[in-house]
């Protein structure tokens, strides 16, 4: 059973932000085996902002294509349907929250950097493990803490109390949430992810990023984001809401089969890729 406050959020679930219509339509098309690159291109070009962003992103150093890609269809053919959906989801999600004026820009910016850092981290770890869909990992990293944004918007008073407790006792944000709310941001994020009909893998990563060993068949993905979170915090990329390190989930770590000696090169790569990409999809309210 859910704690009463969580029920209160659920009862307001209809007030939670919705995804832009274009992104929903694109999700439908991506899931439909009969749709073609041209169908997808038509929907994207209808939305000039999305189209411009997509071209900016595929031409960024992040993808490193040698030639300039000037058409949406070209971008779709090169990147694939899933990657396009993930890219657009990425650029759209934070717009929803950026329009809110309840918190100062600096807080939102630091949160965005933490999310972007985890996204880059998950991609770097995924590449190392030769995971075949690194874009999925990227989006998972980006959205893993989305429950914190819901708290910021829907429970501003409680959010402030949580932050005060974090500062007073120097504890993890998730520990402060448990003390004050009786539940925490992964559960809240899970609610939003389900409302948005995000793929089950993504929902599971959001829910289990602190205890990836409980993620069942998605243990690998959850473990990757879990480690990415820890790595980003260790080198001060953004600010996840506290100054403590979450405990490493032992089962999940063993599952990753990463040699501790490679961590240093991973950190260097995350650091560099974060710098490269942060100017391209930087936070702009």
């Amino acid at each position: 059973m859910n704690p009463p406050d969580l029920d209160r959020i659920i009862s307001r679930v209809d007030d939670l932000p919705t995804l832009p219509r274009t992104v929903l339509r694109i999700t439908e098309l991506v899931n439909d085996p009969k749709s073609s690159a041209r169908d997808l291109a038509r929907v994207i070009t209808d939305d000039q902002v999305l189209a411009a962003r997509l071209l900016k992103l595929v031409n960024s150093s992040f993808y490193g294509f040698p030639q300039r890609i000037s058409t949406i269809t070209g971008a779709i053919v090169l990147l694939g349907f899933d990657a396009i959906r993930n890219l657009l989801l990425t650029t759209s999600v934070f717009d929803l929250f950026a329009n809110r004026r309840k918190t100062s820009l600096i807080r939102q910016e630091q949160f965005w950097d933490h999310s972007l850092g985890c996204a880059v981290g998950a991609k770097v770890i995924g590449n190392y493990l030769r995971y075949d869909k690194v874009e999925e990992l990227f989006v998972s990293g980006l959205l893993h803490d989305i429950g914190k944004i819901v708290e910021m918007i829907f429970l501003p008073q409680v959010f402030k109390e949580i932050n005060d407790l974090v500062k007073d006792q120097n504890i993890l944000m998730i520990a402060a949430e448990e003390k004050i709310l009786g539940y925490s941001h992964p559960q809240i994020g899970n609610l939003l992810a389900e409302k948005w009909n995000l793929p089950p893998k993504l929902v599971s990563v959001i829910l289990h990023h602190h205890q990836p060993s409980e993620a069942g068949r998605f243990i690998l993905e959850a473990a990757i984001v879990h480690l990415a979170d820890i790595l980003c915090r260790s080198i001060d990329i953004g600010y996840g809401g506290d100054n403590k390190m979450p405990a490493l989930d032992k089962t999940a770590w063993d599952n990753l089969r990463i040699k501790p000696q490679v961590i240093e090169s991973m950190l260097a790569e995350i650091n560099k890729e974060f710098d490269d990409i942060s100017l391209f999809i930087s936070y702009s309210p």
């Binding site: 004026r101 100062s104 820009l105 600096i106 910016e109 630091q110 950097d113 120097n170 820890i230 790595l231 915090r233 260790s234 080198i235 001060d236 990329i237 953004g238 600010y239 100054n243 403590k244 390190m245 979450p246 405990a247 490493l248 032992k250 770590w253 501790p260 961590i263 240093e264 950190l267 260097a268 650091n271 710098d275 942060s278 100017l279 930087s282 702009s284 309210p285």
Partner: protein, 116 residues
């Protein structure tokens, strides 16, 4: 407190006053330290001058308050951050690797200072 033009700002300097844009939206709070990225953001918002903590002295020299990172502060901050998990040998490894990476960033002037 000193008024500085946007091009004179350096990472590590601390804001003496909050900065707002033309619509009066809060961009950066007072006491925030500047990073390369934040200076860039202020520029993109069309901010021309900000107030920085520090004092003007005679003969045109200026002394700024700044939160500069050193090898020692990196070590101290990491140890505090990892205090609860340092029994885990993997976490210890991560802490050592992070320390080396942060020190590398320190000696690279192009790398922004991400601390708050």
């Amino acid at each position: 407190m000193i008024r500085l033009k946007i091009d004179e700002l350096k990472p590590g300097m601390i804001l003496a006053r909050s900065v707002h844009n033309q619509q009066d939206l809060l961009l950066l709070e007072k006491d925030s330290s500047l990073t390369k990225k934040r200076i860039w953001m202020l520029k993109t918002w069309g901010i021309e001058q900000v107030s920085i903590k520090g004092t003007s002295e005679n003969e045109g020299t200026t002394v700024f308050e700044a939160e500069l990172e050193t090898k020692d502060t990196i070590e101290t901050q990491l140890k505090a951050k990892f205090a609860d998990v340092i029994d885990d040998p993997v976490m210890e490894e991560i802490m050592k690797a992070a320390s080396r990476q942060l020190q590398k960033n320190l000696s690279d002037p192009e790398k922004e200072n991400e601390s708050t």
